[in-house]
Amino acid sequence: MGFSKLTETKVLLKQYFKDIISIEEGGEQRLIIDLQSKDITSMINHLKDFMDFKHLSMISCVDWPEENKFEIVYILTSYSKNIVLMLKTKIDRKNPKLQSIMSLWPQAVTYEIELNEMFGVFFEGNDRMGEEFILEDWDDIPPMRRDFDSLEYANKNFKFRDERKDKKIIREFISEHYDEWRKK
């Protein structure tokens, strides 16, 4: 018995990419790799061409406003190795730019325009960048960013029924009626 395919992949990747921030197992047959954003394209290229990760499951994004970063997550699968790879990289939130991988997988275009619409991440080399995907006539900040207040937007743009004006919040009512010592 040699190494398992997971360990083998891990070792190979570590040898090939010296700059990997971290690589860890995230469950059964699952690797989570943290990368710098400049390495991401070459890494994916390598994975697809030489390590048989032929399937792009999805591209996703996580907003970290506290760190002022976007975390882009690529999920690749290899059927021969039966391994799911999660490539994560953090990019600057103010100027979120990344290389498109549409030349490797044409379907990546859809993910990329969606991320562009929902987070405002720009993928260079994607010629359909900026196309409307789900939101038509959107004129606010991208809605999936965490500093976007959905309820506020809804209150501003939509009308709710006005029959509910008698609403009372019990705690406030009690404060008003009983509590003369409340600091206001």
Binding site: D137, A154, K159, F160
Partner: protein
């Protein structure tokens, strides 16, 4: 224009609605609805139309195109993107036509009340004849709603389409507020589909 002053019906026009008894009976007992699942409620239509509840008993059947449909079911939440298509579909339907708001979301936003991308009150944009409450309404509720609509047609009270015609500008104003590029290619100034 006051948004919250909802349109009322010009009473003279209702007389025009009165066909003879046979056509009224036919309209009531033959409702073809536009198979247009805009929201999650479409899942409840499957048991309603298949053998468990079988809505064809009531003379209801799905129709593939708005041209042939009498009834538009807005099944649940309606996103702003879909609204454009719904308005277009509604415009393509031929009079007399009816709309059923289906699920809580069409009444006051439902569980999507804080969503940036769904409309909250359906009757601001197209006239709604009957609301079926539920999240989602079960087939019994759907059938009750359809029965309610049939009664309304029988009583000559399903006049949403007339209301829409009479208050077209009011509805247009509301639609324009949501659909910002309203006068673009998709939404010509005068509907002519």
């Amino acid at each position: 224009m006051d948004d919250l002053k909802r349109p009322t019906l010009d009473s003279d026009f209702t007389c025009d609605m009165a066909f003879n008894k046979i056509t009224k009976w036919a309209q009531k007992n033959s409702l073809w609805l536009l198979a247009y699942g805009t929201g999650c409620g479409a899942i409840e239509l499957s048991p309603t139309m298949t053998s468990r509840y079988d809505w064809s008993r009531l003379g209801i059947r799905g129709s593939a195109t708005p041209r042939q449909a009498d009834l538009l079911l807005i099944t649940g939440y309606l996103s702003t993107k879909t609204l454009k298509r719904v308005i277009r579909s509604y415009e393509q339907m031929q009079d007399p036509k009816y709309v059923i708001g289906f699920g809580s979301c069409t009444i006051n936003g439902g569980m999507y009340y804080d969503s940036y991308n769904t409309i909250k009150q359906l009757d601001l944009y197209i006239p709604v004849d009957v609301y079926i409450n539920g999240c989602m309404p079960r087939p019994e509720a759907v059938l009750s709603g359809l029965a309610y609509l049939k009664d309304k047609i029988g009583d000559k009270k399903a006049d949403g389409w007339i209301k829409y015609k009479q208050n077209f500008e009011w509805y247009r104003e509301n639609q324009k507020k949501i659909l910002k590029s309203f006068n673009g290619d998709n939404m010509p100034d005068k509907y002519n589909w």
